[in-house]
Amino acid sequence: MQLGNPAIVAFILRRIALSLVTLVLLSLMVFFGGQVLPGNVGRAILGPFADEASVQALNQSLGLDRPYIVQYWDWISNFVQGDMGMSYAFRSPVAPFVLDALANSCKLALVAFLIVVPLGILGGIVAALNVNRPIDRIISLGGLSVTVLPEFVTGIVLILIFSIWLDWLPVTATWPEGAGLGTQLYHLILPALPLFLVLFGYIARMARAGMVEALDSDYTRTAVLKGLSWPTVIRRHVLRNALLPTITVIATQTGYLIGGLVVVETLFRYQGIGSLIYTAARGKDFPMLEAGILTIGVVFALATLAADLAYTLLNPRIRLGAET
């Protein structure tokens, strides 16, 4: 079993350690950005006309008069235990807001992934089987052109086409209270499309590159020469080898997806973690902002870690050979 291999164990441990470093670094940045840079929080909340004594009193009640290192430790150890602090805007604990929003975002991300993964892989396969023909050009160039567009640009154009002109889909992603799965999906299709467009090009390109390489390989030629039918060759030899790198790309795209969620959720007024961060940022609700960003960081770190580990276990020679 591969897990018995000391090199792999060492790699996995190193990879986990790196994720931890990332999270600590992120938490320091979040703390620095949320609690050190803004300066006088009490003054910011109470406004320029409040007297100095009440500003100091508020700072003291928020614990902001203590040394930074104590504040950081306090904040991060509470966060790890699930206490994400009190929202300045709502005067209530942040955690329920963040968890609700996270669940909503996962729904949206799931819809986007369910559309983009099969279509992206399919697009890549079709392009690879028709290399340099018009259909390949359309998929490759078209996919790459929409990939580079900001989500709000594609989002606006999609809203104009599908909601305003064709009147097929709703403008906002917010469904009526207690709506069924079908209605929820109906509201989520349009917001998922900009995310789809950003991811489609990457996934299709990776699937295409993997397929082209596999089609060109000795084992494919051998399989053809020994008389296997073309569909069998594709299924048994080409696809298997071609799709492994694609799977990793898909997993690493969670980062882009998260960045995209902030924009898409804002544009479609969807109550996810992205719009939570946006609203907190606009209202300078720093505890909410910090909790939102750190939660996203944790989700992202876990996703990339899982992707890397899965890939290593599936194909150790590539990962460990590329030691830099």
Binding site: L18, S19, V21, T22, L25, L26, M29, V30, G33, G34, L37, P38, L144, S145, V148, L149, P150, E151, F152, V153, I156, V157, I159, L160, S163, I164, W165, V171, G255, Y256, I258, G259, V262, V263, T266, L267, I277, Y278, A281, R282, K284, L289, I293, I296, G297, F300, A301, T304, T324
Partner: protein
């Protein structure tokens, strides 16, 4: 290097070769034409637009496209066509400056980590890896909220956020160069490390830096437009495209499509243009 006649061998500089290759690349030329168009609009647009892009005209607000107002008017009665033409100005200042900052910082970091290796490299590389695992838009958002939105903040934040990626590219190029004879020769001459890094190695790793910088410029435009759309980038009253979309998209349900469509398309053309340039440069250097 196949069928080129050898008579030009003597005066063939890498730069001249690159320019010739770019001139043959249709991708590059198409991208360059788009970018040039928007640069000209940014520089001279205000002298030939039909209306003052900042002048309110409330009586004529939200007019659909017509002969007088080609792209219609927005909610304050400002001419959308004039605003779109002039709107390239700020993004074409902020995004390139952020890219330059990222390139300078990233190149310096990459040279240091690639040249010295060892402990310095280990520590900086781990920090870079950890940093790259954090989504850029999120970091930028936090920093800009904390510092207050301003052009300078946006440039600094995007420049810092992109520098690790450039550092990684430069580092891997330097790792290959540092084993070559000219570096060994320079070391034998007892040149100091700073000179070897910037005087000897840097000129030889310029091609990958150029490719990475053009790719980053595309992402910088993406990031600046996105931040402006969210209200954390370029600030009013600039006719910036992302900002215009952000102030007008609330009325999209009312059918006022012209207030957002043309700005969106302008961003799209600029981003695609810069990416075509990046593709062209990468292709030309591969030849």
């Amino acid at each position: 290097m196949s069928a080129i006649d050898t008579s030009t061998e003597t005066d063939r500089s890498p730069l001249r070769e690159l320019i010739a290759a770019l001139g043959r690349s249709r991708t590059f030329l198409a991208g360059a034409a788009i970018l040039l168009f928007w640069i000209l609009c940014a520089l001279f647009g205000r002298y030939f637009v039909p209306y003052d892009p900042l002048a309110d005209d409330i009586i004529n607000s939200l007019l659909p496209p017509s002969a007088e107002h080609w792209f219609g008017t927005d909610q304050l009665g400002r001419d959308v066509f004039s605003r779109v033409i002039v709107g390239s100005r700020d993004i074409l200042t902020v995004a390139p400056l952020a890219t330059v900052l990222a390139t300078v910082l990233g190149t310096t970091l990459g040279l240091i980590t690639g040249y010295f290796r060892g402990l310095v490299d280990d520590i900086i590389s781990r920090i870079i890896e950890a940093f790259m695992a954090i989504p850029v838009v999120i970091v930028a958002l936090l920093a800009i909220v904390a510092l207050g939105p301003s052009t300078l903040t946006v440039i600094t934040v995007i420049g810092l956020a992109f520098s690790p990626i450039i550092a990684r590219t430069v580092r891997s190029a330097v790792l290959a160069e540092r084993e070559l004879d000219y570096v060994a020769a320079a070391k034998l001459r007892r040149e100091n490390a700073l000179y070897i890094m910037f005087g000897e190695i840097l000129p030889n790793v310029l091609p990958p830096i150029l490719v990475e910088a053009t790719v980053r410029l595309g992402y910088a435009i993406f990031a600046v437009a996105t931040l402006s759309f969210m209200g954390f980038g370029i600030q009013p009253p600039s006719p910036d495209w992302g900002l215009s979309v952000s102030t007008n998209y609330g009325m999209i349900g009312g059918g006022f499509w012209w207030t957002v469509l043309f700005d969106s398309l302008a961003i799209a053309t600029l981003v695609v243009g810069v990416n075509l340039i990046a593709d062209g440069v990468a292709g030309a250097l591969d030849d």
